[in-house]
Symmetry: none
Subunit: 207 residues, 4 copies
DNA sequence: CATGAATGAGATTTCATTCAT
DNA sequence: GATGAATGAAATCTCATTCAT
């Protein structure tokens, strides 16, 4: 009995991954159920055995991804002390997720954002809550920044704005990379991003 | 002999503006032709007198906006000398366009980006070319940065990456603002953005 | 005042001719009012100054043509005595009308026939009555054939069927010619058609 | 595992037959997809599972019919020796097909012809090629006529024209019959048609 | 009179979802 | 469970006709 449940979850995951593939290529709005079914190598009707509808797949994709990246971030960030180093870790994890490990996901981030800023029905808003996700991130970053300010590493600042800028800038540079993958590689991205950002907020030492 | 005289370009503009209103509220994919017709206060069929289909409206919206913002940027930026000041102008123009003057457009940027990173048919790619738009911006920024480096204001850097970061970060923070308009206002955005960015790339003076 | 009326009739004729041009190229069903307007070099609305609707144009075209060919036939056929010669004249007039003088009309005969065999509303049936036109022709041919039988030129026959065959065969060979105009010319058509038909019905002389 | 098994070809045939029914009543141009759906007893959307659009149905109807009549003709005509007898068989098969067995098809012939003489796009011209069909028929008839000439049964003639006349006259008399089914029956049609035509081309015996 | 911009009724077409097998 | 044929609601799109200028 137990293995049955594992199979079911595994199959859902397979379908979500297939959906992600198609979403990334055509965009969420232009993806038809038949496209997902074909990509998953299953029948159209079978999808409805595992998901209520297309929105449901999208929400699952959303949850799956942010759970994973959230877990990874929580785990890794806990291991460091220096605020600048923690931010660096955050950047590396994000970049690694979007560029290296989960290539297709990067391409649908925009669809997620686009959906995220609009009003939906109760059902979707409850689960698919981009604002909540970013609030969480922002709160973590705010704490790190405050820690840095307290420790005298960072200059005094509007931590809420700076946290938003950190997150926004990271997303934004990834967006640029999506459009022109040839302009720079992921190492350049991480290194230069951190250099400029940390430089921008660090306490100037008066000599 | 003389039938009603209509300024076709003006009418097209009216329809595009009405479309923008609806796009910003529902998203491009969820907007129906009838929604646009109602918003424009015209009949369903009338839209087809001016546009081939929804894509055509979208492309016109794209062109209209980037022509305007491009013109505004070119005009204002020509008036300054100091690289840091020019960047500041660029930020202010962009922020002012997206937040103050052209409120609805900001909400559609995500749809534009989302479409922009995907492959389309020849026809669409020729006109709706996000990559080309950003290339143009990037080249302008690269020159400004290089100018600053040459003048000793900015530290030596990978100007291509830094330009991409500048543009990406600006878009990214605007994105954050779209989701949570209460977290900071446009003045805070411009000031702090510039402070951190300029600080991040300026030549450190050894004393 | 009087010249006004002449102008009006002349303009109607112009529109009908323009319509015929387009009908022959695209088929009646696939012709749009705008096509006719463009072909006539007038505005779309102007057509409605002269015709109630598209059907009305079609009916006028029908009447115009069959009045003309009917007049021509009546006039010329009255000048001959010999039944075979009269039939020959009938063929020549028809061929000349469809092939030489009124080229476009031949191409829409099929649309006329196609419409002619179907039920329509009262209005159309009253004016656009293909059956009546053919009945008229048939009655004329029947009389000619009967005359020939009486005179001993033609063998005894079912004159109703033979008249139908004469008309049908003439239409049919013209149809073949429409599809392949290179296979034979109008002189060959007339000569051979008459030779075979007259041969087919003439009284065999026992020697 | 195994969903409903449907013979796609059989279903396509059913839809084509239903379409034929409606076409014959209203004409191809005046037939709506919903009419065909209702006639076939299926949903509007189901048609699109089997056909791309109305043209596609029309083309399939064309192919289906001419394949059938072609096969029937080839089969039966192979069984006779005497040229006059073979022509008689050809007439009987055609008449039987159009009048007796495939009643509805006769009514659509005009739409087929009307479309057949016009230019279409490559795609349609390739499949829906009336000219090719008639060329085939004509070549067969030419051979039969030549055979008769060689054997001394038929007089010397322009076989290409005569073949066209044979086919055209047969179509033409059927057209007449379509308009006035009361004027003669199919037996009269076949007998008299052959009598007159054969008489018209046979070698005159000098006594 | 002449016009063509505007219209909406009605056609075509798409596609998420259902459900019999 | 798995399937894909069937569906019709809802979208797109067309075009004959009207009517203000």
């Amino acid at each position: 009995m137990a293995p049955k449940i594992v199979d079911r979850e595994e199959k859902k995951r397979e379908i979500v991954m297939a959906a992600m593939e198609v979403f990334s290529e055509k965009g969420v709005a232009n993806t038809k159920m038949i496209d997902i079914a074909r990509a998953a190598g299953i029948g159209k009707g079978t999808i409805y055995e595992y998901f209520k509808n297309k929105d449901d797949i999208f929400i699952n994709l959303f949850e799956l991804h942010f759970t994973e990246i959230g877990n990874a971030a929580a785990e890794v960030m806990g291991r460091y002390d220096d605020p600048a180093e923690i931010l660096q870790q955050f950047v590396e994890i994000t970049v690694s997720f979007l560029i290296n490990e989960d290539h297709n996901f990067a391409e649908i981030m925009l669809d997620i954002w686009a959906e995220g800023i609009r009003e939906h029905n109760e059902e979707i808003n409850r689960v698919f809550n981009l604002d909540a996700v970013y609030s969480q991130y922002r709160d973590v970053i705010i704490q790190i920044l405050q820690d840095g300010v307290d420790k005298g590493t960072f200059c005094s600042m509007d931590t809420t704005f700076t946290a938003s800028l950190f997150i926004g800038a990271l997303d934004g540079i990834l967006l640029q990379w999506l459009m022109r993958k040839d302009l720079f590689d992921s190492a350049t991205l991480t290194d230069n991003f951190m250099k400029i950002f940390i430089n921008g907020i660090k306490k100037e030492v008066v000599k």
